[in-house]
């Protein structure tokens, strides 16, 4: 496979390390009342669609960026790639964020 790195262009997927469902960037609040259940679901019940999947890849043999890749698990077609950090910065800020 080739991943179209937003900063570096097409790179062989073998330069990357795969993690999984992109929702792993949304770590629950440890102080919440339902933290035990929230962490259970967060870590174990990941999206596993036969179709379009948003997923995390780490460019270990490259620029060390974590990417969110939108890829179809039936065809392996990749339709979007962005820096995970950008996606993470877009989400609503929580008590866990720095400087608060």
């Amino acid at each position: 496979m080739l991943i179209n790195h937003p900063l570096l262009g097409l790179r062989d997927a073998s330069e990357f390390v795969y993690l999984g469902d992109a929702s792993l960037i949304d770590r629950p609040d440890a102080a919440a009342d339902n933290a035990a259940e929230a962490f259970h679901d967060y870590l174990h019940l990941r999206d596993n669609p036969a179709g379009v999947h948003r997923e995390l890849w780490y460019h270990e043999q490259g620029d060390r960026s974590w990417l969110i890749v939108t890829r179809n698990t039936l065809t392996h077609e990749i339709t979007d790639v962005e820096l995970a950090r950008d996606a993470a910065l877009r989400r609503p800020r929580t008590a866990g964020d720095a400087g608060q």
Binding site: L7, L8, Q61, D63, R85
Partner: protein, 201 residues
Amino acid sequence: MENACVADMTLSANYPLDGLDELIEDTRLSAVENLDIVSIALPRILGAEEARQTRDALEDNLKSSFGLQLTDVGMRSSNPDKDSLLGLQPGLWFLVTGKQSSEPARALKTVVRDTAYVTDQSDSWAILDIAGPHAQAALERICSVDIDQSAVDATRVVRTSMEHLSVILERPETERFRLYSPVSSARSFQHMVSVSLQNVV
């Protein structure tokens, strides 16, 4: 109580590629030693205006001391003294310079002051130059990234893996490539490049 080094000894430097200089047919493979390499990380600042100011300040510092510009990731800038700045990660560069100091990070810190975090990388890398008409063909055997002149020229830097080794590649001249790979596996690195060259000449 203070102590002092009572041993009447100094430590001499050893390089793993040990001055390698090999001509295979018309293409030369040579070790590059005595370069200072320091990573430069731009502090992460949330406010856009403030972030830009920090970046500009860092760039001004590098420009005035080295004449080098901050580049995007995957891009390289260089000066007539053959110092170069390699954009390796978002917000992180390697400064590669022939100016040798005993503590390169400390020396650079006086240049960048509080506009960047610096870390010495000079001893982390084994460096090989491969120069000559067979250089590109040799690298085609180990590098999955397109290194044709149309894709990689002197303004580019590529970090990738070759034969299970992490490698930084630049092409300062059309027929000369420079490769950096972790120093601990320098022997395997040398073997990899040398076999590639032997397989294509």
